[in-house]
């Protein structure tokens, strides 16, 4: 069970490695893409500004030095789909990333790109992104047609659901799960909206809109209206948690946001291969703090600390018992 950390520049490499990252992932958006499609069409699931590297030379230096530290580097090519006009550019990019830059895996969503890359037999392995919405064992079996070495499960699956999938396919493919930072109010693979900076995420944008309930029955009493309104308020609070507690930090500057630390003992038991920390675009400090927190819990779990003690430690690391108690900051409900 490895700790997978986001990285956006070579400057972050040494500190992430020292903090305990065991795998790295990043994005690249070449200038040709930006010239052709502007910032409106994203090559991967993060804005081209801030979340991705923009030169092959920078990426090559990052990959070479990461390899010297025994850290594999994966790269996102995980837009939901690519059109016929975009595909040659993406295939060429994938070839270059694999054969010239030397990245260890390409993280892919689009089934057509997955097909084409599996046929291309590149040196880099293929990982299926969480955006592919692999929610069941049959979907994993479908994806195995394209020879991925790893599948990233969506964060909407429960521990039991992850366990059932892992149990069925553990020997055939690695399973990666979400561990820390950003959530998604929707099923990421079936959300057709943009996070473009002009409008922001749809889920948070909704929280600021005027709303009107319509009752389907005969009498829409004041009591019913209040009941629905209270639930909407709770939902908006949940969305606030999903979005990193309004992108907040603790007094010590530690990141808030969705968290799966308490589930790490379960994931070790289930045979999960990798724990993903989200946030390529986050500040170096947030990345560092995130890796330290996850690695602390992983170390204790590896050392055989009892689950209840691990959970206690995880909650103390978050330094926000009131948020842990709210129940909205957890990726997974732990028994």
């Amino acid at each position: 069970m490895k700790v997978l950390a986001p990285i956006a520049s070579h400057d972050e490499l040494e500190m992430l490695a020292a903090a305990g990252a065991e795998e790295l992932y990043c994005g690249i958006v070449p200038r040709e893409w930006m010239q052709k499609y502007t910032g409106a069409i994203w090559l991967n699931r993060r804005s081209p500004v801030g979340g991705s590297l923009d030169s092959y030379a920078d990426l090559k230096r990052l990959v070479d030095d990461a390899h010297r530290l025994q850290l594999p580097v994966f790269i996102t090519l995980n837009a939901p789909s690519y059109t016929a006009e975009q595909l040659p550019l993406v295939l060429e990019l994938a070839h270059k990333l694999s054969e010239e830059v030397g990245v260890d895996a390409l993280i892919v969503t689009d089934i057509n790109l997955l097909l084409r890359l599996s046929e291309a037999r590149l040196t880099a392995a293929l990982h299926v992104s969480s955006v592919a919405a692999t929610l069941n064992t049959e979907a994993v079996r479908f994806l195995l047609n394209f020879n991925p070495s790893r599948i990233v499960l969506p964060r909407s699956l429960t521990i039991n659901e992850i366990g059932a999938i892992t149990n069925d396919v553990r020997d055939e493919v690695e399973i990666e799960v979400f561990m820390l930072n950003d959530g998604c109010a929707f099923e990421e693979g079936f959300c057709s909206t943009t996070h473009h900076h002009t409008v922001g995420a749809f889920c948070t944008s909704l929280s600021e809109m005027e709303t009107k309930f319509e009752w389907a029955g005969a009498r829409f009493t004041t009591r019913r209206q209040n009941w629905l309104r209270r639930n909407l308020t709770d939902y908006r609070q949940w969305v606030w948690y999903v979005n990193g507690n309004g992108c907040g930090v603790t007094a010590k500057g530690l990141p808030y946001g969705p968290c799966g630390l308490c589930a790490i003992p379960d994931f070790q038991r289930l045979g999960v291969s990798s724990l993903k920390i989200v946030g390529r675009e986050a500040s170096p400090f947030k990345k560092l703090a995130s890796v330290k927190m996850v690695r602390d819990i992983v170390n204790r779990t590896r050392a055989g600390m009892p689950k209840l003690h691990v959970i206690e430690r995880a909650k103390s690391l978050r330094e926000a018992p009131e948020h842990c108690a709210a129940g909205y900051m957890c990726y997974y409900k732990v028994d």
Binding site: T38, A84, A185, E187, S192, M209, A216
Partner: protein, 311 residues
């Protein structure tokens, strides 16, 4: 050229009675939604005159808690047969539990020469392995075009680079390698939404048939359902896939884009259960009907309710 007309029914009773557009327009009881249906039926009559539905759709694309019972499916099949309608069964994205719920339904459908719309690769895999007589149709959730009416209406008129606009009107369906893959998996038809930014449907020339839903498009969907939270204590609310009492059937939530940074503050979004939808404007409907009349769209699926009806 006339498209094949399909009607998405909520239950078998919808097929008992005359098929007039005026009756179908009354299926949806919501006063908020009804004007869209009146507009739609009016435009159908204007553009096509009398139409004949030859196929019915039944099932749900968005929530595994709304997968119908075996009894409801049998009733819908019987009603369709009585009206001499072909049958298409809609399926949502699913967990292993949802797949288990679908198995007996597929077993029943297998003897009816039915189509199954899959919105999950796992469902396609199950169909191919265990129910090869069922005809798979790729659902609209697997068609990954951007559908965000906050910006897509702007993109449709903005002076953006042609490459960007074209990309927004297409998806991977315009790649021959992808359509060949679908054909290899027995898929002959793919479904799509009528996009606010317009659809480039030139890929239909690759041999796949194209089906479009109207007058609602989906925006986003989630395993976390706001409505399902109604009966839970606050700390237990909004858990993925949590059990529910189909609270989604009791109400509708309409949003107005009052915080838009652009001029489209009258844009509406509708939340029904776990999914958000947009309604087609008159211009969007006219464009869709024109594409159907001129050929690229072979099938039109009329959904006379927001497509979240419990069977």
């Amino acid at each position: 050229m006339n498209p094949t007309w399909c009607l998405h029914i909520g239950r078998a009773e919808d097929l008992r009675g005359e098929f007039s557009l005026s009756r179908i327009a009354t299926f949806e009881k919501s006063a908020t939604i009804q004007p869209y249906l009146h507009l739609t039926t009016q435009l159908i009559a204007e553009q096509f005159g009398e139409i004949e539905f030859t196929r019915c759709y039944f099932g749900n694309e968005f929530c595994e808690h709304l997968i119908p019972s075996l009894k409801a499916l049998q009733a819908a099949l019987d009603a369709a047969q009585a009206q001499n309608l072909s049958f298409t069964f809609l399926t949502p994205y699913v967990t292993n539990e949802g797949l288990q719920a679908l198995r007996p339904l597929f077993a029943l459908l297998a003897s009816h020469n039915a189509e199954v719309v899959f919105n999950d690769w796992g469902v396609l895999n199950l169909l191919r392995r265990e129910f090869p007589t069922l005809i798979p149709v790729q659902g609209r959730l697997l068609n990954k075009s951007l559908r965000d009416p906050r910006v897509t209406t702007m993109y449709a008129t903005a002076p953006a680079p042609t490459a960007a606009i074209t990309a927004l009107q297409r998806s991977n369906l315009d790649c021959e390698s992808y359509t060949r893959l679908l054909t290899r998996f027995g898929v002959q038809m793919v479904e799509m939404d009528n996009l606010p930014q317009g659809n480039d449907v030139s890929f239909a020339a690759h041999g796949l048939q194209l089906s479009a839903y109207f007058p609602f498009g989906f925006i986003s969907t989630s395993r976390v359902c706001m409505a399902a939270g109604l009966h839970h204590h606050p700390s237990e609310k909004f858990q993925p896939g949590a059990p529910c009492r189909h609270e989604c059937q009791s109400h509708l939530l309409a949003y107005a884009y009052t915080n838009s940074p652009f001029g489209n503050r009258d844009q509406k979004f509708y939340l029904k259960g776990n999914s958000y939808f947009y309604a087609h404007t008159e211009a969007m409907l006219r464009t869709l009907f024109m594409q159907a009349q001129s050929g690229p769209i072979a099938r039109l699926v009329f959904q006379p309710r927001l497509p979240m009806k419990e069977a």
